[in-house]
Amino acid sequence: MKQENIKIALVGNPNAGKSTLFNALTGLRQKTGNFPGVTVEKKSGTFRLAGSNGSSDRDVTVVDLPGTYSVYPKSADEGVVMDILANPKHPDYPAAVVVVVDASNLQRNLLLFTEISDLGIPTILALNMLDVAASMKLTVNAVQLAMQLNVPVVKINARTSEGIPNLQQAIRQVVEQTEKPEQKYFYVPKGNEPALIEEVKELHKLDNDYVALQYVCQHDNFSFLAQPVRAKLDSLIEKYEFDETGFLADETIARYKTIKPIVEKSVKSEGATEQPLWTRKLDKILLHPLWGYVTFALILMVIFQAIFAWASYPMDWLDENTASFISWVKEVLPKGVLNDLITDGVLAGIGGVIIFIPQIAILFGLVSVLEESGYMARVMVIMDKVMRRFGLNGRSVVPLISGVACAVPAIMTTRSISSRHERLLTILVTPIMSCSARLPIYSILIALIIPSTKVFGIFNMQGLVLFGLYFLGLAGALASAWILSLFIKRTEPGYFMLEMPTYKVPRWGHVGFMMYDSVKSFVLEAGKVILAISIVLWVLSSYGPGDHMEVAEQQAVSAMPQAPEEEVAAAVASARLESSYAGNFGRFIEPVIRPLGYDWKIGIALLASFAAREVFVGTMATIYSISGDSEDVLTVKERLVKEKNDHGGPMYTPAVCYSLLIFYVFAMMCMSTIAVVYRETHGWKWPLIQLGYLMVLAYVSAFSVYQLMS
């Protein structure tokens, strides 16, 4: 007998532990975090369901869905859930739904459960967060609950994987039951609702009352319904004088009436329930009018200190070792074109970014600690009013903070912002937050111009300047949001309603994995781009049109007849680069970037970094190792220090460095970000406006800085 793949879906309130359960079931590493709205799109994985009673093993596909408080979506991410569950033809339509509930807040969690159960899909109730419930002196009687609700109830702890085998057992029983039990509705329609339901059922060949009701209430959200179908439903609503808002309120209240006695029978509490002690104590400080901000500022300071001061030890070590590795390769390989390509092109480019691994890892690790602990939700609360002034929302804090790691996932998290207007503004300004790809550029330039002295005995001067750049990014993002909000009309009033999760100790394994994963994708993604670009760049800089390069070489030699051999060699290399294809490109855009203080070499790197910012440093490394005398291999920083401008002075003066820093704070140089904005806003309009706006902002700011400083 052929066994087809079974599909099940994980549904539940935000932050109930669905993604954690998903990971426990499938062994995958879907992103989790201790605040509502972490998962914003569906994710699938599979696991093997062991056979019992002689039946064979089966593969089960699990779909992890965004959390939602009811079947009526309030934001873009929540819409995904009903788009699947109300449409049996959907490829992800599940054979059974596991409703994950937070046992510490059973009453509210059961609201969604009763709705899902009424949709007529076989359900299993997974009781999660029992440890939190226990710390609130609540005990849940699962057997009683199962009897009351008439579904299998399984106690689990998604975090420690307790109860997973029992859950699998229950899934097996539910998907294997041959006859469907008779549908018992938790909500019984009243008035002329039954007549309306009958007509919709007839029209759409539905056999479930509640699904029919969903067609009535939500047809505009269902992507699977065509326009004429929606119009027909609208006319039915008119015919039966169906008042949607009134109905929704009545339905929800009626459901709570049904749920209340069930919860009373199955949950026992010793004394008055309270949130866990630790959560109450921490909130006293972290939401305090004064200490709330002080701790937030301190936490940010620690992050910058960590990125700059602590990361510098492994970075220096990496920097020196890559340099000596490259010179070793240079010696071992036979001399020639290939050697140059590998060492000057590929290795120099990759080495230029590899040294930033420690910073990337620390940054991602710390952001993940903020998310896992539950502190992120508090930041949303203390920042909401500030954000509102700029046309944003407290929830915009999550994209802005995770934008410090990478703008691409950050822009996706905006899906949990319910107001379209606030969401769009957040998308438009998130790329101004300094992402980890800017770190290499910042670090290298800061190291060139800022001494590593101590301020107030504890803070490193370089760390403070870095902090300043991030702050500039934040200020730029907020100011831009404010400016843009003057042009983009608000269509609906925004609101802010957020469940505050209890504090949880971060799972260090998870944090460690986030660090590992970010480093891996940084090295692989950046590595791929850099590899490709450095090869192209090397070819373009080693060859030139016609015999231009040879002519340039001869001119350089004859121009300095008495100079020592070394200097001649350097001049020759530089002259050759200048007349190469890449040099021509650089020369071509030089007039545009001259006012910012950049020469044609920086121009080449600037052009290359349109693909991704981290390419900038790699490209500089490649260009300077080609143009430098090729005997000894220098670290990237040493190369920049040695670089001379047209007048023989150092190229990297403070004015040039600051101009570059400011340019990169604002410039939107990242293909992936443009692509994700295109996807999230469904069109080219917004990404192009954003690109144009940020380019102008970057250019004007860098121009002003350079002109003021030089």
């Binding site: 510490s104 929704l248 309120a249 929800t252 939401l287 305090h288 949303m380 203390i382 609101y495």
Partner: protein, 75 residues
């Protein structure tokens, strides 16, 4: 005395939800567990005075803006 709303609660003060003044907002609040008859308590006020955090039915803490809180009538 006119009807009080959650936005007028003092820190630590408890009250019972009676009704809502805004139909659309009431849907969101109901789904979040703020049901008439349920006890709420003002737990914290964000540094700038808004939003506030209320404890709902002893179970969990909900943060919302004063604007939204003023649509919840209490007794």
């Amino acid at each position: 005395m006119s009807v009080r709303t959650v936005s007028q609660l003092q820190k630590g003060e408890k009250a019972v939800i009676r009704s809502f003044t805004d139909r659309v907002m009431s849907l969101k609040l109901l789904e979040m567990g703020c049901v008439p008859g349920c006890e709420v308590r003002l737990d914290a006020v964000a540094p700038l005075g808004d939003p506030i955090c209320i404890n709902v039915g002893g179970c969990y803490s909900l943060s919302l803006r004063l604007n939204e809180a003023s649509t919840i009538e209490i007794e």
